[in-house]
């Protein structure tokens, strides 16, 4: 009952025209950003953070979470129409979405993607509410040792999900953690690795680093591979899937939504893995597995429901524990900090209107996405066909002004460009960038809690505290497991 009242309070936050305009704007921007190949949800949110500076914190976070949830659907538009996924997770949608377009059924492909995204997104939010609230209550009792262990577990999981190269994912995390030690040490007050520069006393600001790593580096990478040709979008028919066709995929949507949300909860897993696993499960259980890859609506529904529902799942550790589970969550964490808010259990206690406002906004954003998707797909397609020669300079311009706006500092601009170059080099040599960001974001949390725990109770606390010990053990296992797996594969 208490939870129901809180949700009602969340909807109360949305009363008035401002929050609704913010949600609609967020959904439109999210769909467009997601649809543009090269702009991932994290890039879109990072680029839009500067626009939220002077907004009240609640509205700013509603804007950014609306962008987050809509960008996952947006990715499917170009995936279905031109076989160019706007987001990494939409690559699974393209497997069956594009064949549908080739068969002249683009409307059906887009329609089923939209419905699956809406239901998946809604299911994800529902599970988010059910999980995050009790988890936050439990987390109020966590000690510094527990927080250290949880943050380390999050980082270890992210590294172990580094699919192609776990070693490089771990290096990326450690690089991020090391970067975060630059500046005044918050416990002892000692200045570390500042090379005498006043600008480095506070360390690198998070937002310029995020913009550099996510947006500027993407432009460099795209420019390197750029052929100068833009994809030509074909004409889109308006024929939506029939009710019968929808009924046929309803169980797929439901199952994939649950899979997506659960996978989304695990740090590092994210929308892409959720979409792949869900697609695979659906194919195995389908009565028409031979249709997969040839324009199966079940395939499109599975991928889209899973990737959209993973958003709700990924927000569970962020909101309840303050531990970002994905790159976009890391950017959102930065946005929280920018507005002097710290996600975690205390946020539920001290600023419930923010948390429940976000929950309510996510539910409303899903409906807005459905309506805009049904009527606005033609317009979105027109807008995303903006030539790369215009898009890339604009991304750079937004990135530069956005990084300056944080502290009105040109040092932040140079840091943004520097991180852009680092991000490009990392990507070029197959070092994932998202773990760097997670390292930067979680660096303080890991270090401060580790040192506080040791100062209060000595190193033995990590063995005496049962939760910390168990979580550290799991973190160690998830760290070792990928190496063990590689070793076993090689042995075979």
């Amino acid at each position: 009952m208490e939870l129901f009242d809180s949700i009602l309070m969340g909807f109360g936050v949305l009363a008035g025209w401002k929050p609704i305009v913010v949600i609609i704007t967020g959904v439109i921007v999210g769909i467009l950003a997601g649809a543009m190949p090269g702009l991932s949800p994290s890039t879109a949110v990072a680029l839009l953070v500067p626009f939220s500076y002077t907004m009240p914190p609640g509205l700013a976070l509603i804007l950014l979470t609306s962008i987050y949830i809509a960008s996952n659907y947006g990715g499917s538009i170009t995936a279905v129409l031109i076989n160019t996924p706007g987001t990494p997770s939409a690559s699974v949608t393209a497997l069956d979405g594009y064949p549908l377009t080739q068969q002249g059924k683009a409307g059906k492909g887009l329609g089923i993607a939209l419905i699956a995204s809406t239901i998946g997104g809604g299911a994800g939010v529902l599970i988010l509410i059910l999980f995050a609230v009790p988890l936050a209550r439990i987390a109020l009792k966590f000690s510094p040792a527990d927080y250290f262990a949880l943050a380390l577990f999050g980082l270890a999981t992210v590294a172990s999900m580094g699919r192609r190269n776990v070693l490089k994912a771990m290096i990326a995390i450690l690089f991020g953690l090391l970067i975060k030690t630059i500046g005044i040490d918050s416990i002892s007050g000692v200045s570390r690795f500042t090379f005498g520069s006043d600008a480095l006393y506070e360390g690198f600001s998070l937002i310029p680093a995020l913009i550099g790593l996510f947006a500027i580096s993407v432009v460099f990478s795209k420019i390197e591979q750029w052929t100068g040709l833009n994809c030509v979008l074909s004409k889109v028919d308006n024929k939506l899937p029939s009710f019968k066709e929808f009924l046929k995929v309803r169980m797929t949507i439901l199952r994939s939504s649950i899979i997506g949300t659960i996978i989304g909860i695990f740090p590092g897993a994210g929308a892409t893995i959720a979409a792949f696993i869900s697609y695979d499960v659906t194919k195995r259980t389908s009565t028409e597995p031979e249709m997969f890859g040839k324009g199966s609506m079940e395939g499109v529904a599975a991928a889209e429901a899973a990737n959209s529902s993973s958003v709700g799942g990924a927000l569970v550790p962020l909101l309840a524990l303050g531990i970002p589970g994905s790159a976009t969550d890391a950017v959102l964490l930065g946005a929280f900090m920018l507005h002097d808010l710290v996600p975690g259990p205390l946020l539920f206690r001290d600023s419930p209107e923010i948390v429940y406002g976000i929950f309510a906004a996510l539910i409303v954003a899903n409906f807005v996405m459905l309506i805009l998707g049904l009527f606005g797909n033609r317009m979105f397609i027109r807008v995303v066909s903006i030539p790369d020669a215009i898009l890339y300079p604009l991304i750079l311009a937004i990135g530069i002004i956005g990084s300056f706006a944080v502290n009105s500092s040109m040092f932040d601009v140079s840091a943004c460009i520097g991180f852009g170059i680092i991000g490009w080099i990392f990507k070029r040599y197959d070092y994932p960038v998202a773990p760097v960001v997670l390292g930067i974001v979680l660096g303080n949390m890991v270090e401060e809690n580790f040192r506080r725990a040791v100062i209060m109770d000595g190193y033995g606390i990590f063995f005496r505290d049962k939760l910390a010990f168990t979580v550290l053990l799991i973190a160690l296992l998830s760290f070792i497991y990928p190496f063990f797996k590689q070793w076993r594969t090689r042995k075979r």
């Binding site: 500067p50 626009f51 500076y53 002077t54 070693l167 490089k168 771990m170 290096i171 450690l174 690089f175 953690l177 090391l178 030690t181 040490d185 416990i187 002892s188 000692v190 570390r192 690795f193 500027i216 432009v219 460099f220 420019i223 390197e224 591979q225 750029w226 100068g228 030539p387 790369d388 020669a389 215009i390 890339y392 300079p393 604009l394 750079l396 311009a397 530069i400 002004i401 300056f404 706006a405 009105s408 040109m410 601009v413 140079s414 460009i417 852009g420 170059i421 490009w424 080099i425 990392f426 070029r428 040599y429 197959d430 070092y431 890991v446 270090e447 580790f450 040192r451 040791v454 100062i455």
Partner: protein
Amino acid sequence: MGLLAYFSEGTGLALLIAGLFIALALLAVVVLRYGKREYFGQIMAPSSLIGLCIVFFAITFSFPEEEAGPRAVPRLWIFWLCVLSSMVLIQIFRRKAAKDPAPGRLGFVFLMIALLTGYYFAIQTAGYFLSTFVFLALLMHILGYKNKWIIYAVSTGWVIFSYIVFYRVLYIQLPLGYFENYF
């Protein structure tokens, strides 16, 4: 330890950084000239990280020594970063690592970095608005966009948008350079 402490600040640190730059440059020459050209980037990336770790490790000697003090955690990250970077290098030398990606339009990327750097300095002298207009127009032109009117319209549009949204609405004091008195 006394020797390491010498490299933690001042002249010692400068010498250490210079020495590492020379070492990395020599490594680059050796890699390019003696057979591992296709792994150049894959070798230089972890080697540079190890170089960074050496510098940071030396600097930690200037921090106070205490239990769970300011040097503890950075050293932990440095240790693991060195170990894992070395493992990547070992993988390369055992030929179990991927080669460098085929070079794309690297010249374009370097040109863009140079333009961004120029833009960064131009903002401080010529002001944000003028330098942004020139930067956008120039970049679109370099990237091969043909329609001049669209180029000017987009550049002007962005400048007006940033003036209204950032300068007027969000009150962000964008650098005005020589034009400070005109705003």
